[in-house]
């Protein structure tokens, strides 16, 4: 069906969402591969080095065979950034229908595991679609008419925790909570290290959780927060995590964290909510931009955290 010039068609949204899910399931993004290669190169423990070598080999074979890189294909979800003047055929309701259809179809075609079940009855629809599934989170961008779709396939059992700290806890409290979370989930590698750590700091409790997930999944390795105090703490947390020595799959090794990303939000004057998420060895993400003219461009960096998204003032 033809759509007016400058309107992004439903059909295109579906195709891009489908392709993003396919890529996310199969191919580790370049920044992830580079981080795993670096971890392999610096690893001094023989078993950890053997395992990291297998992780790199697996990434290659997954692409060669076009098969999911991990048997737990995670919970497919979307992060959608919409340009302020973007026009969508059928509006957001049509967009969401396309996003849900793409997850169902990729689940069948690429043979993802049907992970999503009813939490009480455990009924499995078999296509990773259900009540509030897949998640779709939105953000907006001024002076833009494009649509960015990021698919993330993240595991869902181990690695995330939340805690309300207080100003008197200081940075020590944050460090200690990170260590607690790593110790809780890093043993035997339940959280599948090496991980990218995402820390949500501040905001309301639910914002804090959400930001920790976004920090873990939507910033490329090596990226640093623009706030100098935050970026200094990011460096400290990577170093701290790696001093634990859990290493890949908890066998004991030099790299527990590939990187750490912190996102902050202004919070209650009396508290310091903190949340930790861990994006695991199955580092799965794909981003595409659909222009108003219908061009599609896939890229490595989701560029989710724009200056506008992190804005401090009113505008």
């Amino acid at each position: 069906m033809a759509v007016s010039a400058g309107v992004i068609s439903q059909e295109l949204v579906y195709r891009v969402a489908y392709e993003a899910n396919k890529r996310a399931a199969i191919a580790v993004p370049k920044d992830g591969l580079a981080a795993f290669e670096k971890a392999f190169a610096r690893e001094t423990k023989p078993l950890a080095r053997f395992v990291l070598g297998q992780v790199l080999e697996n990434a290659k074979l997954a692409v060669a065979d076009e098969r999911p890189m991990c048997g737990d294909t995670g919970l497919p979800r979307y992060y959608v950034k919409v340009g302020n003047t973007a026009r969508l055929e059928g509006g957001f309701v049509a967009l969401e229908r396309s996003l849900r259809q793409a997850v169902a179809d990729v689940t069948h075609d690429i043979q993802l595991r049907a992970n999503r079940v009813h939490p009480l009855t455990r009924r499995n629809p078999g296509n990773n679609v259900g009540v509030f599934a897949p998640n779709v989170d939105y953000s907006f961008e001024p002076d833009a008419d494009w649509l960015d779709i990021t698919a993330v396939h993240k595991g869902g059992l181990f690695g995330t925790d939340y805690r309300m700290l207080f100003p008197a806890d200081g940075v020590d409290g944050i460090k200690r909570f990170l260590l607690d979370t790593l110790a809780e989930f890093g043993r035997r590698g339940l959280s599948c290290p090496p991980v990218v750590i995402g820390v949500g700091l501040g905001g309301t409790k639910d914002q804090c959780m959400r930001l920790s997930k976004e920090a873990a999944c939507l910033r490329v390795t090596g990226d640093r927060h623009p706030d100098p105090e935050v970026r200094a703490l990011e460096d400290e947390l990577v170093e701290l995590a790696n001093r634990t020595g859990f290493g890949v799959m908890g066998v004991g090794g030099d790299t527990t964290a590939l990187d750490a990303h912190i996102e902050i939000a202004y919070t209650h004057t009396g508290g310091v909510p903190v949340a930790v998420s861990q994006f695991c060895t199955a580092y799965r993400r794909a981003t595409a931009r659909v222009s108003a003219g219908g061009e599609v461009e896939f890229r490595d960096d989701p560029v989710w955290f724009t200056p506008y998204y992190r804005r401090e003032g009113i505008g």
């Binding site: 001094t44 023989p46 078993l47 080095r49 053997f50 395992v51 070598g53 297998q54 080999e57 697996n58 990434a59 074979l61 997954a62 065979d65 098969r67 999911p68 890189m69 991990c70 048997g71 737990d72 294909t73 689940t107 069948h108 043979q111 595991r113 049907a114 079940v117 455990r122 009924r123 499995n124 078999g126 181990f158 805690r163 207080f166 008197a168 409290g173 460090k175 200690r176 260590l179 607690d180 110790a183 809780e184 043993r187 035997r188 590698g189 339940l190 599948c192 701290l240 001093r243 634990t244 020595g245 859990f246 890949v248 799959m249 908890g250 066998v251 004991g252 695991c280 060895t281 199955a282």
Partner: protein, 224 residues
């Protein structure tokens, strides 16, 4: 730097007593033969609700995998698996005595192995080993090792992700020997070394001002 490879075994399922006897924690195993998956749904149905298994599991093999393969029905009754990985084994501690006793299981493939207590009390008693997938995200490598899906059972009753998948595998590995037949465990040793480092890393960080219920659990203990 040279990649120092661990001791490596290529074994056929069903495993013999001799096979299990030579395995030590930290060894790597590649497995060829039939195996079947079972996790929460299948364990509950067979071991708690008392349903007979849909196929003679004991007669088929003595290797089972705690897994839900990434696979679909490609044509009516025809299944294909793209990618494979095991799930965390500690969660199934309560089912292990009955599983090993009733089905003659001699190797359980999980993610991260069994609790020390279960390994000592149950696995050792049966001369069984606990194997762990490696990585843990080696889904493509393990998926490649599947030669054929021999059958998928209880799809209707349990849903496809909890069903029993009977798989013919070839050189399924690398699998880490997490627990040997004598009760020795890989992670028990690894955790001791990590605990020494953890104590240093925590040093000087003051405890939180507001404690959570159960906070007396120290970071040196496994949380399960």
């Amino acid at each position: 730097m040279e990649t120092l490879r661990p001791r490596e075994w290529h074994l056929k399922a069903p495993l013999s007593q001799g096979d299990n006897g030579k395995l030590r924690p930290g060894d790597i195993v590649y497995l060829t033969g039939p195996t079947y998956t079972a996790r929460d749904g299948a364990y509950r149905r067979m071991l708690v609700e008392g349903h007979e298994p849909p196929v003679d599991l004991r007669g088929l093999t003595n290797v089972t995998m705690q897994s839900s393969p990434a696979g679909v029905e490609v044509a009516p009754g025809v299944y294909h698996v793209s990618s494979l990985q095991a799930t965390a084994g500690f969660r199934y501690a309560q089912y292990m005595p009955a599983l090993l006793e009733r089905f003659g299981v001699k190797a359980v493939i999980s993610k991260a192995g069994m609790t020390d207590e279960v390994r000592q009390r149950v696995f050792r008693h049966h001369g069984a080993v606990s194997l762990s997938t490696v990585g843990y995200g080696l889904g493509a490598i393990y998926g490649r090792a599947i030669e054929r899906v021999l059958g998928v059972y209880w799809v209707e009753e349990l849903g496809i992700s909890e069903a029993i998948w009977v798989l013919q595998v070839k050189e399924l590995g690398p699998l880490l020997v997490e627990g040997d037949a004598e009760g020795n465990g890989f992670f028990a040793q690894a955790n001791e070394e990590i605990n020494e480092r953890l104590a240093q890393v925590y040093q000087g960080l003051k405890p939180p001002v507001f404690r959570r219920i159960g906070e007396e659990q120290g970071p040196k203990r496994e949380p399960f």
